[in-house]
Structures are given as structure tokens and as C-alpha cells.
Symmetry: C2
Subunit: 727 residues, 2 copies
């Protein structure tokens, strides 16, 4: 390229750049998109419904009095919901103005923005003191950022309609002060804006999007590269840090869902405004990878409950944004079209119409839910989430880093889904989002005292203390480590991980495998939990099952007229002790029924093992907890101890047809044959007389491990061995 | 008609009669039906699936070894399920033989019947002693009757295939002994066969159907007219007695569903074999009326939980039988076609194919769920069930007779459904049908100690004793009485009923209205419960709500570290006391959230009123109970006392979209203005400043009652008054 060509290119780029920068609408909707949407009206019912929904919101808004109330209430309260509703109305009206050209819509946005421009300069910090980063319109700045993300889109849509005087007023009295407040409003906001955290993503997206909308390069650059514009913080740095190389967001899928919204929305805006940044190609296409990973982190369309989490489905608008924008910017990712179909809703934007059109084609293939190992950490070296799947059975295994402020203390915990139901359950978070009487809609205190604590999870608690003693600062320094994982064989999916820091002088290793054999109706779980210590400890190992207990092979002393709690702290104060049992057999079995299927845990035990039946719901003065039952193994005085269990879905309980089949587990016994630093060998026998041998490596070494069984030397391959054996 | 004509007619009738009697198949399937089914193959997917399902069962049976085990297990156990499975296999094979002509199917039925013919004569009473009427193949004779109903159809289908010798063997050693056993096997069976009870219906249907199949008029006549053939008992007498004139079955909808199966099946057989009996016209078409009533006794396709009841939907095969046969025999009843569509399954019979064809037509109209008063008692004078419905809100009100052995002690109890959820709940029965480890699949002991007791229901318990002291013999002598009911105005649906016998010297009256006013988002319930007594009593008035408590206007002393039971007997031993509250206000409010909607009870109280929060699940050594929460009003020392409550569904809690609207009830207060033997007047005020006056008559008299409000005389019309008022 000669100097002339270079100059020309720069000039062209500059022209293109400034042209894109100045164009309205140009954030989520562009003139080309508007044209496309109009042309295809009536063709794609899901998209038409989305437009109709926006139209309904906008038309309702036109017929209502504009109210911009003095901020007062927390989440779920009147002023909170009103300000939220207002941005949805402006957003809808902005879009409808673009689609119809009706000035009433644009005037509505203008009028409301002017009211905000009058109110905003008068506001101090929000009176509901429940956050370390209070907002002005809302109880926390986070909601202010969300407000601005939406309002930026509305402003962009009606920008050319508003008079220069009005624009100046609105920008000067509302948008600039708000951008300043979000990015620098008080020391805490500055920190959040420059933090590697989903609140930081919302903050940078908000400031960046209003920057683009107003054509202010300074705000945009701060948003992209941090307050100091040095790239050490800001949106692009977040892309480096907040996702692992597998597209896993360290806070967990629930917050991945929430963070993906500003990530994808802002990225789409960047792509429209500064295509030269190639934001969707950044870090090997990390954003689209994150969307696919998010979609994988679900069972039956419901996002996994890992760390703080409430019920969320594919129908949430944030996942609709994510799927549409991901597809639009990587049309090769056709797997998402099946998800778009299930959503059957779209964003009214360039991305939405493109996705709707593609999803309407006949050749859309079903999305493939795969077994996956999702590494945690920016470099992928901070443990992992494992997802084992076969047919309709799915098991999650958590061996990650802490997950920031929303992390739970549950290293090596599992959850099990089967038959479209939650079978072994993660409690999730204790929060009634947006219900004002419930602690302002915020996480309740039981979220910390119960939901975050180790005993609330399907993993081992030592000496009634949570992992890292429930101290986030300590926990955040560490992560579990994968020992190995192998999901290459659909019939034998295995993950093994270690946690050496959760307790002093106690190390833990869990190996969980999803095994499919012809002898058993459904895939079963082999679960080996090794605890190592030089001294004696009490080990509590709960299984939070959903459903109704059917039977056990042990007798239970049930507390029928009085209940007491299992303990007084670290979550134990929230568990009622319903009963205790013991068995003199080598295995305890516990069967429950969930929906139309039975489940049995068959677990090795000894004369010391206590079998506890507990239920959450104690220590709950404000009626915030759910009552959920638990089958808990307690090993009261254990140094080195290995729990070995098989969890089997079985049979049929059809109450409608009144048919019951195989209410008894097909598993006859589990035995621990060998257990040392090298490897663990177990044997599982079934009632039909089959025997299975399973061995797993307990340490990584280059040599091939082996063991002797029935005078035969058996070697592990890829760290494990699994086979049916004669006896 | 001259003598010749008469003779000819009689001869023709006789010929027709005997021809029908002798024809095979002739029970549920006839040669005409077979032809029709073949002709329409591939036309009606729901019907094709039903045929495919029968074919699958039959083909699987052909490829399995016939096993007729020695009876041993209770419900859900191996031998129980095997004998059950066997009759389904014979039934399917019989039908498939008719549809395909393949001899393998017929041979299978023959072979299995021969095995039964060998086994049956060797059997004594069933070893699992859990019933007063033990069977031989099954733990209770009831299941033996069900076996025979199905097997009769199979036998009828393959009758012409089986050799005369084999028929003789099978009839002599199996069917005759079984018919004899069912109708007369031991004194208890004789009583059941001649009893006005659903077990009697199964018994007569079984004996009658095998009678028709074998061409034995004696058995048929016994079935139709009772053992003595005098018409004082038997199937036809059951039609007189077991349904009320409104087609309500006295045991309740759950057993109506179960009883409708032999009723409709046997009736279809009678219609095919003895059309001159005009069985479907009998008692003004009581059978078809009963089917329509059954379908009405459901919310969102799920049968109401009144008396002993488990989950049952329209998808149950018995309701498929009922709908198909009802439609076939009264094609004017096109309302059922919408139900048939929802079922999307059919019986493979003449009735099934006729219904499938009609349901496939384009002009099928939605079934109309109506507010209904369903009188109880053969004459319709033993109280009633009231069903109040508006939009998606539905309330049931029980003021009936006891309901035989499956009746609960819950006079004047209500249940509420809204938004496709159960909101105020009837616990139903404690039973794990067909799960052997759960008391053999039978009703567990908690069914009596808890589910039947008054305190388990949304009605008043006096002095911690159940209605009629939980004594069925006493309870069966009485019934509640409707005072009046008016569902003619969709916006003001009212039922008022009295119960004067449940307690000595205490009478109760409940008036419940489903009110729709423009001021409130959804229909609301006005509920007035009057208790009258000359002496002081403790009144407990529970509301078993489903969902999570949100808030109350009273403070609660919550038991956070220890739970005790509310009492020691009459169901109280099954309730944990979670907390107690009091208020110094005139109203207590209690709000909970269920799914995406809020519900608030606003109830009048005084300084004595205790507000209890309880939960079922205590006193349950075998883990048979569910944990269900309750908001309970306790009036500790009351003579005459009137509870006045408004129950309001309100707002929106959309966790997916994160939108919360109106979590506060719109009801500001409820006031009792006047309350005497003549009438009760209440006033309900809303937060938007509206006031509503509601008055209801407390006694029937010819004069028009009136009361004075704000110096104005207001007269009741049709026993009530409802209007918005100025203040």
C-alpha cells in the first residue's frame, strides 16, 4: 500500500467512523434494520408478537400521564417499579417511532426525558440505604446503569426528532450527570466502574452507550478502556478477565445470564458504531462462546442453580438479547436457532429480525446439549464446572473458584436432574426479587446464613464448619482443581476433582461418573468422596432430594412430636432433625419418588455411620425458607474416610394410569475394594446378578496404574477403569 | 297393533335379543365397530395412537412368557402388578385379534385364560391381609372385579376362536367360580355385591359382563337386579341411589371418576346386548349427566380434591371411557368433544371411533365450565357441592352428606383455585397408590388421623374435635343443608349453607361469595363463617395456602429452634406450630405469593384472636405426609362468633421478566356491620377509596329482609344484597 492509498484508507475509515458515530438510530437499531423489519412484517409470528408487545407498551404509555416520582422505595416498591417501567416505555416508544414514524412516540420520549432532566439534578443519594453503592433514582447504582442502557437506545431512536435545545438540556442535566455518577459518582461507583464484575459491565455499557448516542468519544473510550483509558479496566478488559477460555462466567450461570445482557448489548452497539474493533472476534470470539456456554448451563430450559441463583429460563429477555445478537454476529452459529425457536420471541432490532428470519427456516436442527467441562478462571486454570449428560439425565459438578460476591461455599458439590425434574437439588439463593416486604427484594439474611453455607449443598461439611469457614476473602484466594475429566465416551462420563484448601489439614477428592449399562433402565451415578486427614473429624454428607421418601433399609427414630435443629450456626441452625437411623448392614439404601420415577441412593456405611433425615426451614423468623428434605450421611469420628454411593433412577410411578413398576432399586450393593493414594476401586452389584468394577486414579502420574482383582492385574486407561465382571 | 303384528314384533324382538346376546364380539366392540375402525385407520391421530398402544401391549405380550404367579403381594408388589398387567395384555390381544384377525392374539388370550383356569381353583384367600374383602388373585376383591371386567372384554373378543372344550374348561374353572366369588364368595362379598357403593358397581359390572360374554342370563340378571333379582340391589338400583339428580356421586369426584368406569362400561355392554333396556335414558339420562358433572368437577383438567382423593386428570383411562361412551350414546352432547380433544386418546371400541371422528370436526366448541350447584343425595336433598367460577378463578364449597367410607369430616369447607394453581388447598388423601413399601399402597394410617380430620380442612373445628367426633356412623346420619345458592349472576355468585349436627349445641353457617367488581383486578372471595353456641368454645379456622408467605400486618413469635405440635389428637398431632401472632387492629392481613400472583386474606379480628402459623408433617413416623403451610385463626373463648374474611388474588410477580406489581392487597378493611339471626351485613373498603356493602340472609323466610344503612333502608333481594356504596 503506498502513501496515497494509506491516506485514502484512513480518510475513508475516518469518514465511515464518523458517519457511523453520528448516525441515528445506530445503537441496536439501524436504518437498514428498520427497513428489514418493515419489509418482513407479518412473516415471522414470534417477531411480530415482539413488535406488538413493544407497540402495546408504547401505546399504553402514550395514554398515560408521565410520572417521574421522587425516589423512595426499594426493589418491588412503587417508585422503583415506576422508574423501571419508565425506561421500558421510552425504549418501546423509541422503537415504535422508528418503525412507524409517528411523532407522538418521539414526543413521549422527549417529554419524559425532560422530566428526568428536571428531577435528576435535584437528587441526592437514594433514601433506601441497602447498598454500598446507592443510586439516585434507584436504591443501587446498578439499576441506574440498567436504566441508562435502555434509555440510551430510546434516545438514539428519537435523537433526530428532538430539538437541539431540548437535547442540550437533556444531555447536560440528565445524561452527563448520570454518566458521571455511574462512572465516578462516589468512590464506590468509581471502583465498580473499573471493577472486573458484572456490575462493572452494566456500568461501562451504560456510559459507553450513552456516549455513542450523544457522539461523545470521551465517554466511549472510558467505557471501553476504563476511567484511566489505559485498558487496565473497562469493557474490553472485562472480556479478558470475566470469562474463562470456555466462556464460563466466574459468578455462575445465573449471573452469566445477567451479565450477558450488557455484554452482548454493548458489543452490538460497538459493532455498529466501531466495526473496526471487531469486538465479536475479540479473544477468539469469547462473547459468542459465552452465549453458547450459557445455553448449555441449563436443564429443560431452566438455568442451573450454582451460587446465588433464582429461577430463570430461556424466556428471559437477556437470553433473548444474547441469542439474537450472537447469531446476528456469527451466522455460522446455527445451533442457536433452535434456542431462538424455543424462545419464540426476539428483540426488535437488526439482530432480532435476522434471527427470526433464520429461525423460521425448515432446516433448523435441535440444539445439542453436550457433556461439557467448563474451565473457570480467566486463564482456565481455576478448576471447572463439569456437566455430565446422558439422555434426559444431567449432573452438574462444581469445582471452581469462589465466584465473587455471589459465590457459595460448596466445593465439589453436585446436582442431579432427571426426567425433567430436579432430583438432587442446589437450594439456590434466598431472595424474593422485587418483593418489597421481603427485605426490599434483596438477598435476605438467610442467603448468607443458609444458602451460601456448605451444609446447604450436596457436598461434605467437616466439623460443622463451612468451607473456608465461610470467609469470602480466604475462599477467593483458592479454587478446586480438576484431577481429570473424561466425557468422550457417552456411556462413561467421569469427573474427578480435589479441594485441598477448604479446611486446614483436610483434603477432599470427589470422583463422580455417569454410567450407562444395558442392565439398568437409566444412567446411574457412581460417586466416590474421599476425605483425608491425620486427625479425627465429623463428616456430614447431605443429599438434598426432591420428592417423597418411599423406603430405606434402615430403621429411623423419627421425631414426631418435637423438632430441634441440627446445630446452631453455619447453616445447621436452619435444619430440622426429623429422624436418625443406623444400620448394621454394609450398605444403606434410601428410596424416594419424584413425579413418576423412583430414585435410590445405595451407599457404603459402617457401624459408625449415622443416617440423618433433616429438613430446611428452621431458624427462619421471617418465613423466607422453603422446606426441603435431606438424607444425610454422618461419619462422626473419621480421619481418612471414603463415601461410596450409587444413585439410581428407576421404575415408573404412574398415578394417572395407576401403574407401578420397579419401585425397588436394581442395585444390590456397593463395595469399596481398594482405596489409597494411587487409586480407588469399587464394585457395584445388581439384583439381576451383574457386577461392575470401577476404578479411578487418585493422583496424576505418567505411569499407568493398575490393581489386582481375582488374581488378575487390571490396568487403568485414561485414569479410570470400568467394566462388567464375572463376579 | 293387531295380534299378528304383536306376535311378529315379539318374535322380532326376541330374535334381536337373542342374536345380540349371542353375538361376539358384542360387549364394547361389535362387528360394526370393527369395520368402522378398520375403515378409518390413519384418519384420527389420537385414535390411531390408541390402537398403536393396544398393539404394542399385545405384541409385547406375544413375545413374553405367560406368567400367572401365585398371589402374594399387596398393591404395587410383583404379583399384584403382574395380574393387573395380565388383564391389560388379554384385553389388548383380544382387541388386536378383532382388528387384525391374527390368530396369535387369540391364542395368547386362550393360553393365558387356561393358565388362570388351572390356578384359580387352587386359590384360597389372598395372603396379604389388608382388606375386609380379600380377593383371591388380589389383596381385595375389588381388584378381582376389575380383572374380570377387562377379561370379559378379552374373552368376548376371542370367544369364537376358542374351542368349545377350552371354553368349557375356562368357564367352569375360572369365570363361574370367580363370578360366584365376587357375588357371593364370602359374606362380605355378598354384601358388597348388593351394596350401594362403587365397589358394588365394579362387582355387578364384572359379573354382568362375564355373564353377557358367556351368554348366561342368570348372571346378567343378578348383576342388573341384585342377588335376589328383586331390583332392590344391583346395577340398576345403583343408578337410582348413587347419583344425585344432578349427577353427583356421593363419595366425591375422585371416586365418581373411578365409579364412572364400570358404570359407563357396563352400561355400554347393556346397551349393546339389551338395547331394549334403554339404559342411557334411564332416570332421565343419569349416566350421561354424571359424566358431564364429573368433567365439571375439575380445575385445569385436574379433578377436585374432595374426600379421599389423589391426583387425577382428564387423561385417566376411566374418563376416556366415560367421555367416549357418553358421547356415543348421546351424540347431542357435543360439549364432550372438546374434552375428548384434550384427552387426545380414545378407547378402541365402537364408542371410541365414533367420538374420535366427531372430535376431529372443525366446529368443536370449547367446553363451558360453569358455576354449578350439585345437589347430593339420591333425591338431591342432602346438601350440595357448590362450584363458583369466574374467569380463571374457581372455588369449591362442600356442604354434603358424609360420602360413605371415603368421606372426610369437613362440613362447609372451601378450596380455591386461581391462575392455574391450587391456592387454598384440600390436602386430599394420604396414600401412595401401588407403592408397596407405603403400607402396601393402601390408605396410610395418617389418612384417618390427618387427612380425614376436620382440622386438615379449610373450615372451622370446635374445641379441637372433628365434626361428628370423627365418627362415620354418626356423620352418615346427617348432611349439611344449603340455605340458598345463586350463581345466576356471573359477577356475584353466592352459596350459603348450614351445618347443625357436626357438634352438639353448636351450629355453623358459612356464606361464601365470588365477587367481581371493576375496582379489583381479579374476582375476590367474601367469606362469612358464623358459629352459634350458648356456651364458650375454642374455634380454629385454618386457611391452607399454597405458596410462600410474603407479609402480614401482625407480628409473629416464630419458633426458630424448636417445633412442637399443636395438639395430640384429631389431626392436631400432625401440625407443627411455627409461630403465633396477635394484632391490636380490627383486621389481620396475610399475604402469600403463589407462582406469579399474590394472595391476601383480610380478616376481621379482635383482641382475643390468635393468629397461628402451622405446617403439616408432624406425627408422621413413616414419612407419609407433605409439609403444607397454614394461616389459622383461633378464637379461644367464643360463644357466638362470626369470622369475616376477604380473599383477594392480586398483582404480578414475574421472576423471569423481573416485574413486580401490586404486591399489596387492594382491600383496606373488612367490617362486620350487623349480624343476627335474620341477616349479616359486612362492608369492604378498598385502598382506592371504594366501599362495598354485602348482606346475606341467615334464615329462609318468605318476607323480604332489610336493614338500615346510613339512615336508608336497604332490602335484600333473592337472599342477598351487594352494591358499591358512597361511604
Amino acid at each position: 500500500m503506498n502513501i496515497f492509498q494509506k491516506t485514502l484508507l484512513i480518510a475513508l475509515l475516518f469518514f465511515y467512523y464518523t458517519a457511523a458515530y453520528a448516525q441515528h438510530p445506530g445503537l441496536l437499531l439501524t436504518p437498514a434494520g428498520v427497513k428489514e423489519i418493515k419489509k418482513n412484517a407479518g412473516k415471522y409470528p414470534g417477531f411480530d408478537n415482539a413488535v406488538a408487545e413493544q407497540k402495546k407498551i408504547a401505546d399504553n404509555a402514550l395514554h398515560s400521564t408521565i410520572t417521574v416520582p421522587q425516589p423512595k422505595d426499594g426493589g418491588g416498591g412503587y417508585t422503583h417499579e415506576k422508574h423501571k417501567n419508565n425506561y421500558y416505555e421510552m425504549y418501546a416508544a423509541g422503537i415504535m417511532y422508528q418503525l412507524t414514524g409517528k411523532k407522538e412516540y418521539a414526543q413521549f420520549v422527549t417529554d419524559m426525558l425532560k422530566k428526568y432532566a428536571t428531577l435528576y439534578p435535584t437528587l441526592g443519594l437514594h433514601p433506601a440505604v441497602k447498598s454500598e453503592t446507592p443510586g439516585k433514582l434507584f436504591w443501587q447504582t446498578l439499576n441506574e446503569s440498567v436504566w441508562l442502557v435502555h434509555t440510551s437506545v430510546a434516545y438514539d431512536c428519537v435523537y433526530d426528532y428532538i430539538s437541539a435545545t431540548d437535547r442540550q438540556n437533556i444531555e447536560k442535566n440528565l445524561f452527563y450527570p448520570m454518566a458521571e455518577f455511574i462512572s465516578n459518582g462516589n468512590p464506590a461507583n468509581y471502583a465498580v466502574f473499573n471493577k472486573m464484575h458484572n456490575h462493572g459491565t452494566w456500568a461501562t455499557a451504560a456510559v459507553g452507550m450513552i456516549g455513542y448516542a450523544m457522539g461523545d468519544k470521551n465517554l466511549v473510550d472510558m467505557a471501553l478502556h476504563g476511567s484511566a483509558k489505559d485498558g487496565k479496566t473497562g469493557f474490553i478488559r472485562q472480556l479478558d478477565v470475566l470469562f474463562s477460555p470456555d466462556g464460563y462466567f466466574t459468578e455462575g450461570p445465573y449471573y452469566q445470564r445477567y451479565a450477558i445482557w450488557p455484554f452482548m448489548t454493548f458489543a452490538q452497539v460497538i459493532q455498529n458504531k466501531q466495526p473496526e474493533l471487531n469486538i465479536f472476534k475479540y479473544r477468539d470470539g469469547i462473547l459468542n462462546k459465552a452465549v453458547n456456554t450459557l445455553v448449555q448451563c441449563a436443564y429443560d430450559g431452566e438455568i442451573f442453580y450454582l451460587n446465588d441463583a433464582l429461577k430463570k429460563t430461556y424466556q428471559t429477555q437477556e437470553i433473548i438479547y444474547a441469542v439474537d445478537i450472537a447469531y446476528k454476529n456469527d451466522p455460522a452459529n446455527t445451533a442457536l436457532l433452535d434456542i431462538a425457536r424455543r424462545q419464540n420471541s426476539f428483540i426488535v432490532s437488526d439482530a432480532g429480525i435476522a434471527t427470526a428470519r433464520a429461525a423460521s427456516k425448515k432446516d433448523v436442527k435441535p440444539f445439542t446439549f453436550k457433556p461439557l467441562i467448563l474451565r473457570d478462571g480467566a486463564k482456565g486454570d481455576e478448576g471447572a464446572i463439569a456437566i455430565l449428560r446422558k439422555g434426559n439425565t444431567c449432573l452438574t459438578f462444581k469445582a471452581t473458584s469462589h465466584g465473587l460476591s455471589h459465590g457459595h461455599y460448596d466445593k465439589l458439590s453436585i446436582s442431579l436432574f432427571d426426567n425433567n425434574n430436579s432430583i438432587l437439588t442446589d437450594y439456590g439463593a434466598v431472595r424474593y426479587l422485587n418483593i418489597e416486604p421481603k427485605y426490599g427484594g434483596h438477598y435476605t439474611k438467610e442467603n448468607y446464613s443458609w444458602a451460601m453455607q456448605t451444609i446447604a449443598h450436596n457436598t461434605v461439611t467437616v466439623d460443622e464448619q463451612s468451607h473456608f469457614d465461610g470467609n469470602i476473602k480466604v475462599s477467593s484466594n483458592y479454587h478446586s482443581d480438576l484431577l481429570y475429566a473424561d466425557v468422550s465416551n457417552p456411556d462413561i462420563q467421569i469427573v474427578s476433582a480435589v479441594e485441598k484448601n477448604a479446611y486446614k489439614n483436610v483434603s477432599m477428592q470427589r470422583t463422580t461418573a455417569l454410567i450407562t449399562v444395558p442392565d439398568l433402565e437409566f444412567p446411574v451415578i457412581f460417586d466416590i468422596f474421599r476425605v483425608k486427614s491425620d486427625s479425627a473429624h465429623q463428616l456430614d454428607f447431605p443429599f438434598y432430594y426432591r420428592g417423597q421418601m418411599v423406603s430405606g433399609n434402615f430403621s429411623v427414630q423419627k421425631n414426631t412430636s418435637e423438632l430441634k435443629t441440627l446445630g446452631t450456626k453455619n447453616g445447621y441452625q436452619h435444619l430440622w432433625v426429623e429422624g436418625k437411623g443406623k444400620t448394621d448392614q454394609d450398605n444403606a439404601t434410601f428410596t424416594w419418588v419424584n413425579d413418576n420415577r423412583f430414585y435410590t441412593i445405595t451407599t457404603k456405611c459402617d457401624s459408625q455411620t449415622e443416617l440423618l433425615l433433616t429438613r430446611s426451614g428452621a431458624g427462619d423468623p421471617d418465613f423466607n425458607l422453603r422446606y426441603e428434605p435431606c438424607f444425610m450421611l454422618r461419619q462422626p469420628n473419621a480421619g481418612n474416610h471414603t463415601f461410596v454411593s450409587v444413585i439410581e433412577p428407576h421404575g415408573l410411578y404412574d398415578l394417572i394410569k395407576e401403574v407401578t413398576i420397579n419401585y425397588k432399586s436394581a442395585v444390590a450393593s456397593v463395595q469399596l475394594l481398594q482405596d489409597n493414594e494411587e487409586l480407588t476401586v469399587i464394585k457395584v452389584a445388581t439384583n439381576s446378578g451383574k457386577n461392575y468394577l470401577f476404578a479411578t486414579s487418585n493422583s496424576m502420574s505418567s505411569e499407568n496404574k493398575s490393581f489386582i482383582y481375582n488374581n488378575t492385574k487390571i490396568s487403568l486407561s485414561n485414569n479410570y477403569y470400568f467394566s462388567e465382571i464375572k463376579n
